[in-house]
């Protein structure tokens, strides 16, 4: 049971982060807060990859996949934040509801 404690805690962290990230994506209306929710969701996915690698005895493969996910997640965040800055400059708001009804 002692050897199970760390994987169990990691699994709880994975499920918690995925749940909180999903909740954030569902309830937020701010474009930058959407990126925050996405970041939390991806952190859960990263931990899940490392946990799967540990459980299957392939820690290094899990690390490699996690590295790729970190790079992709950072690029997504950078592009999304640049998009948010431009949206704020053009339309003056970051509210998703207002943006979905706007026409230039």
């Amino acid at each position: 049971m002692m050897s199970l404690s760390l994987p169990l805690m990691a699994a709880v962290a994975v499920l918690g982060l995925l749940g909180i990230g999903l909740l954030g994506l569902l309830v937020t209306r701010n474009l930058i807060k959407v990126v925050v929710g996405l970041q939390i969701l991806v952190k859960g996915a990263l931990l899940a990859l490392l946990l799967a690698g540990r459980l299957s005895g392939q820690v290094q493969t899990g690390q490699t996949l996690a590295l790729t996910v970190i790079v992709a997640d950072t690029i997504v965040s950078v592009v999304a934040l640049a998009l948010a800055v431009q949206v704020r400059r053009q339309f003056g708001t970051l509210d998703l509801q207002a943006l979905s009804t706007l026409r230039r």
């Binding site: 990691a10 918690g16 982060l17 925050v36």
Partner: protein, 162 residues
């Protein structure tokens, strides 16, 4: 006990990042969650990725968030009604977590006797070279996309001023 504290603090930071109304505070809570995730990664036996997560997730991404919030300007912290009703969103998130727990938790006992002996660098550069290529493509694509976005915005501003 230490792992339990780390997980509780991580989930608390993540929840505060989602719940907070001020963007700057949310970015700082997210940085805390990233740092605690890095500790958890280290505990899981992945020190290389833990260091990268700490420097990129808690460092670079936080700086980018602060930079973007500084440029875009923080909106007044008013509590807007969410697009999806909050109780429905909570139910959906809880259902997703429950489904994930039902699928994942019974399989946690499966410990493989297979242990990968290769080093991290060997796996990255020799076994997963396609991933490295993908990362290079992603970085170049991301840089070009950001340059295009920022240059497009600058051109629009110049046109409006003329």
């Amino acid at each position: 006990m230490f792992d339990l504290l780390i997980v509780a603090a991580m989930l608390g930071c993540a929840f505060q990042a989602v719940r907070g109304t001020r963007l700057l505070i949310a970015a700082l809570w997210l940085a805390g969650a990233s740092a605690l995730t890095a500790i958890m990664m280290f505990r899981l036996g992945a020190p290389e990725v833990a260091v990268i997560e700490l420097s990129v997730g808690a460092g670079l991404v936080t700086v980018l968030f602060v930079f973007a919030i500084n440029i875009a300007g923080e909106e007044p912290p008013v509590t807007l009604r969410s697009l999806v009703p909050a109780p429905l969103a909570c139910i959906v998130a809880l259902c997703a977590v429950g489904l994930g727990a039902a699928m994942a938790l019974p399989n946690l006992r499966v410990e493989s006797s297979l242990v990968q002996a290769d080093k991290f660098a060997t796996v990255v550069w020799e076994h997963r070279s396609l991933d490295v290529l993908l990362q290079v493509v992603l970085i170049i694509g991301g840089v070009l996309a950001v340059l295009g976005l920022l240059a497009g915005g600058r051109a629009d501003a110049r046109k409006e001023s003329q």
